[in-house]
Symmetry: C2
Subunit: 185 residues, 2 copies
């Protein structure tokens, strides 16, 4: 199994770092992409991506992951919007957290499917239909997994669960409690 992380300047690394770790521990291959070769995340670390967006073939991946940040500069990036649509067209998983579901709304992907997001959806009326906004902080709808930024652990575990990465229910529950610092011997 192979995951593609789309990164961009100012992306919230803590929203996807437990997920990348779960992937790494369960032998999911990880590749990173961005519009440029190098980006700076919200914690000011410089990340050098494996491939620029134009080098990515959707066919190679099972899931696209997009962290939160400021999506506004990305809404007119047609290459990115096409990538998101192609993942959906091929019925591959798309996992988007915090403000990233805006990119799903900007493409044809959200449609009448329920979603979670941290963004004030009234500011992006062409991206979001309020009718389909979930009450939950993490939502799975067909091939889409969306979440509020604060639910980054629940998001990681939801992705892991739906990709069958956990050995069993105990492994899944232990992962939640570990990242919540509530795991007791």
């Amino acid at each position: 199994m192979k995951a593609l992380f789309f990164l961009y300047d100012g992306y919230m690394d803590w929203e996807i770092s437990p997920l990348a770790y779960i992937f790494s521990e369960t032998s999911v291959e990880i590749e990173t992409t961005a519009l440029n070769e190098e980006i700076i995340h919200s914690g000011k670390f410089k990340v050098k991506v494996d491939k620029t967006l134009d080098q990515c073939l959707v066919h190679d991946y099972d899931i696209l992951v997009i962290p939160g940040g400021d999506p506004e500069p990305l809404l007119e990036e047609n290459g990115l919007i096409r990538l998101v649509q192609e993942f959906d067209d091929k019925n591959k998983w798309i996992a988007a957290i915090c403000w990233a579901p805006t990119l799903l709304g900007r493409s044809s992907v959200l449609r009448n499917r329920i979603y979670s997001t941290s963004i004030d959806i009234s500011e992006f009326p062409t991206c979001f239909n309020p009718q389909y906004k979930s009450e939950a902080d993490t939502t799975i709808c067909e091939n889409l997994i969306t979440a509020e930024g604060n639910a980054y652990v629940e998001f990681a575990v939801a992705v892991g669960k739906h990709l069958n990465l956990f050995k069993d229910r105990e492994d899944e529950l232990e992962t939640v409690l570990f990242f919540k610092n509530q795991l007791r011997e």
Copy 2:
């Protein structure tokens, strides 16, 4: 205020990503360093550091942060051990999480000061005195802040608190609850 993150191949990015975010949001300057210019973290992202270790002047920073991972290949890196000692000699903050306190034990820094760590300390008898191992998952002792890996949120908030980064007690508590996804309106 300025923070230096020491990074290395396989470091656990999720253990320091909330802390780097708190720094970034409170205008603490952030620089990254490593033995080489580029490293790969536990989630398989490539990070390009701002400076190699030999370019860092301790004088420029207020705090050194070291994430967990496998410290064993680093224990004989004299340049790193000297850097840790120099931060301590100058009474600057040192924050080490998970397995990173092993590097503090390898240097002269731990002495008879209490610490937290995730590592099995019996495997590193020359680094750790069992007598001073804390019962808590996060420990502040003079200029040292140490924690178990699972306590990465508590670690970040402890650092933020002792560096006076929070506006007030409410801000501190809200930060804990936000990263625990327990903040309610």
